[in-house]
């Protein structure tokens, strides 16, 4: 059985600086990292053809369900990207029968409550405000562990656990949005900026 400490994260960001940063942060946190610069490349890496969910015929896959050549334990993606946004990518992953269990985390430089709730409702595990810090990444491992544990449990039990865990995280996020409380996830950036961002 492979060591559970070797988690592989796929990081998606169109900014070369942010890719370098997230890669360093993830490696410092002892994750294996692959970075790509677009949502479509992320889907390619995950083995999904962008348009129709069918495997790209150029990749040497065997069956429709076994297209992932490298296991990805978490996808962390920027929200604002040209072409396919992080939200679009999130949707595609969650709509895919083979990929939907991969936890997805969204990063954004903008603190927009409606954007945050949209992503969480679509199934994102976390919404991180950029610039992302090392402490933010400590929240990732539990989501990856959860998936590994789930893989070994019966379906019934999985659903029960999911339901138990979800309300709590939703409450925290809602509270943060309603009360404008600075949680670790959602850190309002004030910095005396009065102009509209």
């Amino acid at each position: 059985m492979a060591a559970d400490s070797e988690f592989h994260v796929l990081a998606v960001d169109d900014s070369i600086i942010d890719r370098k940063l997230i890669e360093r942060l993830l490696k410092t946190s002892s994750f294996q990292v692959t970075t790509v610069d677009s949502g479509s490349k992320a889907l390619e890496f995950l083995g999904l053809h962008e348009d129709d969910g069918i495997i790209n015929t150029n990749t040497p896959s065997v069956s429709p369900n076994n297209h992932q050549e490298v296991e990805v334990n978490l996808v962390i993606t920027d929200y604002c990207m040209p072409g396919m946004t992080g939200y679009d990518l999130l949707k595609k992953i969650k709509e895919s029968s083979s990929l939907k269990n991969i936890p997805v985390v969204i990063m954004s430089s903008e603190n927009v409550p409606s954007r945050i709730s949209r992503c969480l409702e679509e199934g994102a595990e976390e919404f991180l405000l950029k610039p992302v810090r090392l402490s933010d990444l400590n929240k990732l491992r539990p989501h990856m562990l959860k998936t590994k544990i789930k893989d070994h449990q019966e379906p019934e039990k999985q659903d029960k656990e999911e339901k138990q865990q979800q309300p709590q995280s939703n409450n925290n996020n809602r509270k943060a949005m309603e009360e404008g409380i600075s949680t670790e996830k959602i850190r309002p950036r004030l910095n005396g900026i009065t102009a509209m961002v």
């Binding site: 600086i17 370098k20 940063l21 360093r24 430089s109 950029k130 610039p131 090392l134 961002v197």
Partner: protein, 151 residues
């Protein structure tokens, strides 16, 4: 002798970075980057600075091009400013980031004159930042050269 020179250079580096913090040119995010540099990644800060400067110059050139058209494509302009703002934020370039916010505002208002003014401010802040970064990197390289000589 080398030890003293290295120590002096390191102090110079530290003081200069501090002055950049004090002037608001850099913010705490730059410290985060410094913390990510270690013996396994000894050139991390240098590499990020280089990537940032190349990217910033590319974006600034593009923005300049858009602003030179009679009919400014504000939406394209905005998407470029957004990129630069993001990079600035990621590297801790505080004043440059604020200059980007101003340009976004002017772009949102579709006010060409204000955009030009805000853009000039961005260019000014970037040039200032770049020259300071260059100075820092020079010190860093001298430290590395001396440390390598010692081995």
């Amino acid at each position: 002798m080398n030890q003293m020179a290295i120590a002096a250079l390191k102090n110079q580096y530290k003081s200069f970075v501090q002055s950049m913090f004090d002037e608001g040119v850099l913010d705490n995010q730059f410290s985060q980057l410094q913390d990510l540099q270690d013996s396994s990644n000894p050139n991390f800060v240098d590499e990020v600075i280089t990537l940032f400067c190349n990217d910033a110059e590319r974006i600034i050139t593009e923005m300049n091009r858009y602003l030179n058209y009679q009919n400014v494509d504000f939406s394209k302009l905005d998407s470029h400013v957004h990129q630069l703002k993001g990079s600035s934020s990621s590297i801790g370039a505080h004043r440059l980031k604020l200059a980007c916010v101003n340009l976004r505002q002017a772009s949102y208002e579709r006010n060409k004159e204000e955009c030009v003014e805000a853009f000039n401010s961005i260019r000014h802040e970037y040039c200032l930042l770049r020259s300071k970064f260059q100075f820092l990197m020079q010190i860093e390289r001298r430290i590395v050269a001396l440390e390598n000589n010692q081995q």
